[in-house]
C-alpha cells in the first residue's frame, strides 16, 4: 500500500465548486489516513456527491487541491489519472451498472475490457467476486435490469472491489434499500474494507450505515466540513450541527436550505 503513516492517503484542501451563481463547496477540507474508513454525512443537497465527484476528477474544481498518497491529482503524468483509477474502486449511488453488459462483464470490466485479462479468466474472477457478495453464477449471466435493487447494489460493490483497490469510494450505498437489505450491504462493505485494508470514503446520510462502516465521521454543511471525529464520538460531538443531524430534529442550525 502506498503512503506512510504521516502522509494522508486522500487529502482534499480548499475545494470550491460552483454551479452558475450557486456555491456548493466553499473551501472543503478533508483528510483520510491510510486504512481509514471515513464517512461523510450531511443533509440532502449539501454537496456530498459533488465533493465525491470532484475528488475523483469527474467534475472540474473551481479551486482547491486533491492529493492521493501525497501526490496532487493535477500533477499526475498524462496517463496518471487512469493509473489512479486502477487503484480506486467506486460505488455510485444508483449502482451505475452498464445496462448493455451482463453482470459478470460489469464486474470484470476493468480487468477484461481495459486490462489484459482473458475472457475465461475474467469470467472466473467475476464469479468469485460475485460469490463474495452473495450472488451466484446464475446472476452473473443476467443483465442489470433483471436484478432487484439490492442485488444490483451487491453487483456494484463486487465491481468496485474487483481489482483489489487501495482507495474505495461509496456514494450512498444504502439509499433506496429496506433496513434489512441495507444492513446486509453495510456488512458487505465492512467485510470488503477490512479484507482489502483500503482507505475508504463513504458518502451517506444513513447514520446506521456510517456507524457500521466507518471509524471516522465528517459532517458537511454549507460547503465545508463543520465537524470531524471518531465514530464513537458521534453522540457526544459537541457540534450543534451533528447533534441536530443525529437526533433528526427540524430545529437547529441546519435548515431546509442546505447552503444556509
Amino acid at each position: 500500500m502506498t503512503g506512510s503513516a504521516q502522509t494522508p492517503a486522500i487529502e482534499l484542501r480548499g475545494l470550491v465548486k460552483r454551479f452558475g451563481g450557486k456555491t456548493v463547496l466553499d473551501g472543503m477540507d478533508l483528510t483520510a489516513m491510510t486504512g481509514d474508513s471515513l464517512a461523510v454525512i450531511g443533509t440532502s443537497g449539501t454537496g456530498k456527491s459533488v465533493s465525491f465527484k470532484c475528488a475523483l476528477g469527474l467534475l472540474p474544481l473551481d479551486a482547491g487541491t486533491v492529493r492521493f498518497a501525497g501526490t496532487p491529482r493535477d500533477a499526475l503524468p498524462s496517463n496518471g489519472p487512469r493509473a489512479l483509477m486502477r487503484r480506486s474502486g467506486v460505488l455510485f449511488q444508483g449502482g451505475a451498472l452498464f445496462d448493455s453488459l451482463p453482470i459478470w462483464e460489469n464486474v470484470a470490466f476493468a480487468l477484461f475490457h481495459t486490462g489484459t485479462m482473458r475472457r475465461a479468466e475474467a469470467y472466473e474472477l467475476a464469479c468469485a467476486k460475485l460469490a463474495e457478495v452473495g450472488l451466484d453464477e446464475r446472476a452473473a449471466n443476467l443483465f442489470p435490469s433483471e436484478l432487484s435493487g439490492g442485488m444490483q447494489k451487491r453487483a456494484a460493490i463486487a465491481r468496485a472491489v474487483a481489482a483489489d483497490p487501495e482507495f474505495l469510494f461509496f456514494d450512498e450505498p444504502t439509499s433506496g434499500l429496506d433496513p434489512i437489505t441495507a444492513a446486509t450491504i453495510n456488512r458487505l462493505i465492512e467485510d470488503c474494507v477490512t479484507r482489502l485494508q483500503a482507505t475508504t470514503v463513504t458518502i451517506t446520510h444513513d447514520l446506521a450505515s456510517a456507524r457500521q462502516i466507518a471509524n471516522r465521521v465528517a459532517m458537511l454543511h454549507g460547503g465545508r466540513i463543520v465537524w470531524e471525529g471518531p465514530v464513537a464520538e458521534l453522540d457526544r460531538s459537541g457540534s450543534a450541527h451533528v447533534e441536530q443531524f443525529v437526533h433528526g430534529s427540524a430545529d437547529g442550525p441546519v435548515t431546509g436550505d442546505p447552503s444556509a
Binding site: L56, M85, R159
Partner: protein, 261 residues
C-alpha cells in the same frame, strides 16, 4: 431608468449560441477522432455496432428504396411521356438513385433510427452515472462508446447504400416492366450503359460521410444531455434534427466537389 430593449440583442444571442455550439461540436469531433485512432481498440464493440447500424437498418432501408424507385419510375414516365422521351427513364432512375436518392434517403432513414438510439442510450448513461463509471474503471468513454460506433457508421453506410441502389433500381424495374411496358432486357441494358463509376463512387463517399455524421450527432447530444428523462428526450430530438440537417448540407458540398464543372 431602463432604456428600450435592443432589437438586435436576440439575433446576437442566437449567433453567439450557434458559434459556441459549433465550437463544442468541433472539439468533440476532434477528441472523438483522436480517441478512435489511439489504442485500445474495442473491436468487439465495433462489430456489435456494425450489426446494429448496418444489418438492423436493412428492412427500413429496403422498404424506402423500393418505393422510391417505384415512384421515381412513375413520375419520370409522367414527365417524359409528354416529350416522347420515355426511353430516358432507366438512365434517370439509376443515376438519380446512385448519386442522390440512395445515399440521402438511406442516411435520413438511418439517422432517424440510429442517431436517436445512440443519443438515447448515451444520454441515459450520462444521467445514470454510467459514463462516470466508465472513467472510474479506467476506460475513456470516447474510446469505448464513440470510436467503435464511428468506425461502424463509416463502414456500414456504404454497403447499405449499395443495397438501396440495387433495391431502388429493382423497384423502378418492376413498375417500368410491369406497368409501363418496357422490355426487361432493354431496361437493364440502358441502366448499365448510363451508369458510370463516378456515380457509384460519389454515392459511397457520401454514405461514409453520412455514417460519420449520424454517429457523431447521436453521440454528441447523448454525451451532453442533462436533466433526467426530459433531457434525454431533448437530446434524442436534437440528434435526429442535427444529423438530418448536416446530411443535407454535406450532400450539397460533396456533390459540388464531385460534379461541379
Amino acid at each position: 431608468m431602463r432604456g428600450w430593449p435592443n432589437p438586435l440583442a436576440p439575433i446576437g444571442r442566437v449567433v453567439l449560441e450557434f458559434l459556441a455550439a459549433t465550437g463544442r461540436v468541433a472539439l468533440f469531433t476532434a477528441e472523438a477522432v483522436v480517441a478512435a485512432v489511439r489504442p485500445p481498440y474495442f473491436l468487439r464493440q465495433a462489430g456489435r455496432q456494425f450489426l446494429e447500424i448496418g444489418y438492423y437498418s436493412l428492412p427500413i432501408v429496403g422498404l424506402t428504396a423500393i418505393f422510391t424507385g417505384m415512384v421515381l419510375a412513375l413520375q419520370s414516365y409522367t414527365g417524359f411521356s409528354r416529350f416522347a422521351a420515355e426511353s430516358a427513364i432507366p438512365s434517370v432512375l439509376v443515376v438519380s438513385l446512385t448519386r442522390e436518392l440512395g445515399p440521402v434517403l438511406t442516411a435520413l432513414m438511418v439517422a432517424g433510427r440510429v442517431s436517436a438510439s445512440i443519443a438515447a442510450e448515451t444520454g441515459t448513461m450520462r444521467v445514470t452515472d454510467q459514463l462516470d463509471a466508465l472513467v472510474t474503471l479506467s476506460a475513456n468513454p470516447l474510446q469505448y462508446l464513440v470510436a467503435p460506433r464511428l468506425l461502424a457508421g463509416v463502414l456500414a453506410l456504404p454497403p447499405l447504400v449499395l443495397i438501396a441502389d440495387v433495391i431502388g433500381t429493382m423497384g423502378g424495374f418492376l413498375i417500368s416492366v410491369g406497368k409501363l411496358g418496357f422490355e426487361p432486357g432493354i431496361f437493364l441494358n440502358r441502366c448499365l450503359e448510363s451508369l458510370q463509376t463516378l456515380d457509384v463512387v460519389s454515392g459511397l463517399v457520401k454514405a461514409a460521410v453520412f455514417g460519420f455524421l449520424i454517429v457523431l450527432m447521436g453521440s454528441y447530444h447523448g454525451f451532453h444531455s442533462e436533466g433526467g428523462a426530459r433531457g434525454v428526450g431533448r437530446a434524442t430530438t436534437n440528434a435526429v434534427m442535427s444529423a438530418s440537417a448536416l446530411i443535407l448540407v454535406a450532400n450539397y458540398l460533396i456533390t459540388e466537389a464531385f460534379f461541379s464543372r
